[in-house]
């Protein structure tokens, strides 16, 4: 319930009268004539204008949020599509020529230090010893031990 200003004013005047009769009476500050008649309209108009601005701001914020959400969705989908380890990501490597590959290795030779230090077991070719005819004859004579070759069969 709103306090009745007149009632309260009387109470204060009475209280002041009991306490001191010497204090000067209050002098209310008066606004220009007609001020209080126009104020309610002025304030409600300002409030309506402010509400309109707030509403517009909310709409704009919602739109920006929707756009941001779409962009984020597109970015996530793109990342998901292109981050899969399929052949498409290796395609550029397949198009390298041998000279380009050689050039790349030479340009980045320090990257291959680790490989160079590894003990690589290269496959060794088995030597095939082909005996000459004199050595073959000598070997056969030792094996025959004085027997004729025809006697062996």
């Amino acid at each position: 319930m709103a306090l009745d200003p007149m009632e309260n004013d009387d109470a204060i005047r009475k209280e002041m009268g009991e306490l001191s009769s010497h204090l000067p009476p209050k002098q209310p500050d008066l606004p220009p004539p007609g001020y209080f008649e126009s104020l309610p309209e002025k304030v409600t108009q300002r409030w309506k204008a402010e509400e309109g601005r707030i509403h517009l701001r909310r709409v704009l914020i919602r739109r920006w949020m929707a756009i941001a959400a779409i962009c984020l969705g597109v970015m996530v989908a793109g990342w998901w599509l292109f981050s899969r380890p399929d052949v498409s990501t290796f395609t550029p490597a397949l198009t390298l020529s041998s000279s380009e590959a050689y050039q790349y290795v030479m340009d980045n030779i320090s990257d291959f230090d680790g490989l160079m230090e590894q003990q690589v077991q290269w496959p060794t070719e088995e030597k095939i010893i082909v005996p000459d005819s004199a050595a073959a004859e000598e070997f056969l004579l030792e094996e025959l031990q004085g027997h004729e070759i025809e006697q062996m069969f």
Binding site: M1, E15, L23, P24, P32, K42, V43, R46
Partner: protein
């Protein structure tokens, strides 16, 4: 129109505007006096009063009725005055300079007694000054003051009585009474 009726109107979207209009009609005079007394010009007071009502409109849905509606609005008005003065510190300094000039005036006439009263009020201890202003100028009841200052009504009455006596002595000692 009662506070309850105003609140009911202001809280329904269909009647909100009318509720706000009634709220301004009910409290514009009292709040204007509260604000105007603390600011040097009507234009400043008008600006602060309009901002006070706009803030009240914006937060009215959050008003839970734990204190009287006027007490709640009074607090908002005081905050707005404080913020206004903070924003306009230069203006505050000019006001203080004017006050010093007024203090140096040697002559006395009945109209100026009110100004000397304000000077005497400014010389009071902070609590008594606050209580005197709330009671004498802003016409708050002891119950409302107790809600704002978180003090008992008895303590407030005592402070107010001490303040009145001190002011009277001050005015008498300077032969302004």
């Amino acid at each position: 129109m009662t506070d309850e009726a105003i609140l009911q109107l202001a809280r329904r979207p269909q009647t909100r505007e009318e509720g706000f209009r009634q709220l301004v009609l009910a409290y514009q005079h009292r709040l204007y006096q509260v604000i105007r007394r603390q600011l040097p010009s009507h234009e400043d007071a008008d600006d602060v009063l309009q901002n006070t009502f706009l803030k009240v409109f914006r937060h009215l849905d959050g008003f839970e009725g734990r204190s009287e509606l006027y007490t709640w609005m009074y607090r908002i008005a005081q905050n707005e005055v404080f913020n206004f003065i903070k924003r306009n510190t230069r203006m505050k300094m000019v006001a203080l300079e004017n006050q010093v000039e007024k203090r140096e005036e040697p002559h006395l006439n009945p109209d100026e007694l009110v100004r000397y009263l304000e000077m005497a009020v400014n010389d009071l201890p902070e609590r008594q000054r606050m209580v005197f202003r709330m009671r004498y100028y802003d016409e708050l009841s002891y119950k409302q003051m107790a809600e704002i200052l978180k003090l008992t009504e008895g303590a407030l009455k005592a402070s107010f009585h001490h303040a009145v006596k001190k002011i009277e002595e001050e005015l008498k000692s300077k032969q302004w009474l």
